[in-house]
């Protein structure tokens, strides 16, 4: 499978709330890599991710995931999606949440312990999710997506509100997963996370501005700081249009 892209999006148009928010997007995401989807809030990151996992009604264009049309039934056990707002049951404990999702995807008991350890919640398994902090809740949400050991993980702003130590641990986990063959698409609106990614997709106002590595972005713009580099890319795009 090496070489074939995990995600292929071709000329995608999507409208939300009666307004087109993605205007003809074409991109590829390589297998077994950590790809950062970066851009300001409201630029269409979430809509693109929803299109990739198959919960978004598409306007035009095609989305191919792991060689199949995005949202195919066969992909439901191969693709893990974590929404920005934690989508877990607040009135159940961490363990009860994971046990439910584990049963749906056919994961073993050991998988639950492993997922909990990965997100650093081992001491909290018996706590009701509603009583956890926001950051802890989003980690429970992430843990549920890890249960199925999906080949593609789509994570919408997974590190928002996390303390820096945990954030760097999670990024280490993402790279570990990628080394084991998982493809990760991770969105963020803070550029300081861009350096953690193998490849960057820079989006603005529903369009793809660049698709390159952090090193290429620095070289292209002559900016060491990735935030400034992104700004330079935006200015260049505005200048040329």
């Amino acid at each position: 499978m090496a070489g074939a892209p995990a995600i292929h999006v071709e000329n995608l148009h999507v409208a939300r709330g009666g307004r087109e928010v993605i205007h003809g997007l074409t991109l590829e995401v390589a297998s077994g890599s950590v790809t950062g989807l970066l851009g300001p809030s409201g630029c269409g990151k979430t809509t693109l991710m929803r299109s990739i996992v198959g919960v978004q009604v598409l306007g035009a264009g095609t989305v191919t995931v792991l060689g199949r049309p995005g949202g195919s039934r066969e992909l439901r056990s191969e693709v893990g999606y974590v929404t920005q707002a934690p989508s877990v049951y607040g009135d159940l404990t961490v363990e009860e949440n994971l046990r439910y999702f584990a049963r749906l995807v056919g994961a073993e008991r050991a998988g639950i312990d492993e997922a909990v350890a990965t997100v650093g919640l081992t001491g909290h398994v018996r706590q009701v999710v509603g009583s956890l902090s926001g950051g802890e809740r989003s980690r429970v949400s992430l843990a549920t997506a890890l249960l199925a050991r999906p080949r593609l993980l789509v994570l919408d702003e997974p590190t928002v509100g996390l303390d820096p130590v945990l954030r760097s641990e999670l990024w280490a986990t993402f790279h570990e997963l990628a080394r084991a063959g998982t493809t990760l698409l991770v969105s963020s609106h803070v550029m300081d996370e861009a350096g953690e990614c193998d490849t960057l997709l820079l989006m603005r106002e529903g369009r793809l501005l660049e698709h390159l590595t952090p090193a290429e972005l620095r070289a292209k713009t002559g900016q060491e700081d990735l935030g400034r580099a992104f700004l330079a890319v935006i200015r260049a795009a505005e200048g040329s249009s």
Binding site: V53, Q56, R76, A85, S87, E96, G106
Partner: protein, 245 residues
């Protein structure tokens, strides 16, 4: 559809409610207390208490499950858990049947408590057995659940969802024949009552609590309740969309 996903969902829903003991207490205490209230209200007229109280034992679960399910499903929609489920290997039928099984269990417990108090303590008469009323109560509860699931699709907030209770349930309660015999209603109200699922639920209960021999028509009433349930679940499934705008 898979038995594993259905059972897992039913278990999860029951577990959520188990974490909320006050809701369980309310589900059991409120209908019982209302029945006791009716008992004292009609203390000098036992035949009125029998005519209203006995069928009501089998209608309470309908009302409660409609409300509880519409809120529970609305929460699944607004907290993003439904969207997550839609990306997982679970069929829509697993979700619907899982909910139905969970609320069926709750309804059975509620019906057992209400029927015990009504028929064993307050002296209501169940000429064909209290078990028949309890059984109809469970069927009505699943009908209420199915309608609640469907109704939840039309509510964006919990404020809206609770108002579906007076909007959907009250007219059915008024027209089903419990308060005014349907053949004494204006013709157009009588016609409307034929279209309402609760009418058939009430008719079956009225037969089950009447000393006359059970008529053949009662099977038709039960069949109508089941048909409305299946239809509501079918329309409910249509409102569970994998892809949204």
């Amino acid at each position: 559809m898979s038995a594993r996903a259905t059972f897992a969902t039913a278990g999860r829903v029951l577990w959520q409610i188990r974490r909320d003991p006050r809701t369980i207490a309310l589900m059991l205490v409120v209908p019982t207390a209302l029945l006791v209230l009716l008992y004292f209200l009609f203390e000098g007229e036992p035949q009125v208490f029998q005519r209203i109280g006995a069928p009501l034992c089998g209608l309470f679960p309908f009302i409660v499950m409609f409300l509880v399910t519409s809120i529970a499903m609305l929460r699944e929609r607004t907290t993003g858990t439904l969207e997550r489920l839609m990306t997982l290997p679970i069929a829509k039928a697993d979700i619907l049947v899982g909910y139905g099984a969970a609320f069926g269990v709750l309804a059975a417990i509620q019906a057992a408590v209400v029927c015990t108090v009504g028929f064993a303590v307050l002296g209501l008469d169940a000429p064909h057995g209290a078990w028949l009323v309890a059984l109809l109560a469970v069927a009505n509860a699943i009908l209420g659940m199915a309608l609640g699931l469907f109704a939840s699709a039309f509510a964006q907030t919990e404020f809206q969802a609770v108002q579906f209770m007076p909007a959907f349930v009250f007219p059915q309660m008024l027209l089903c024949g419990l308060f005014v015999a349907r053949d004494q209603m204006a013709a157009w109200l009588h016609t409307i009552s034929w279209l309402m699922p609760l009418t058939y639920a009430y008719e079956a209960l009225a037969h089950a609590t009447n000393p006359a021999e059970l008529p053949r028509a009662m099977a038709g009433d039960v069949a109508a309740v089941l048909a409305f349930t299946v239809a509501a679940l079918g329309f409910g499934a249509l409102t569970l969309r994998r892809r949204t705008r």
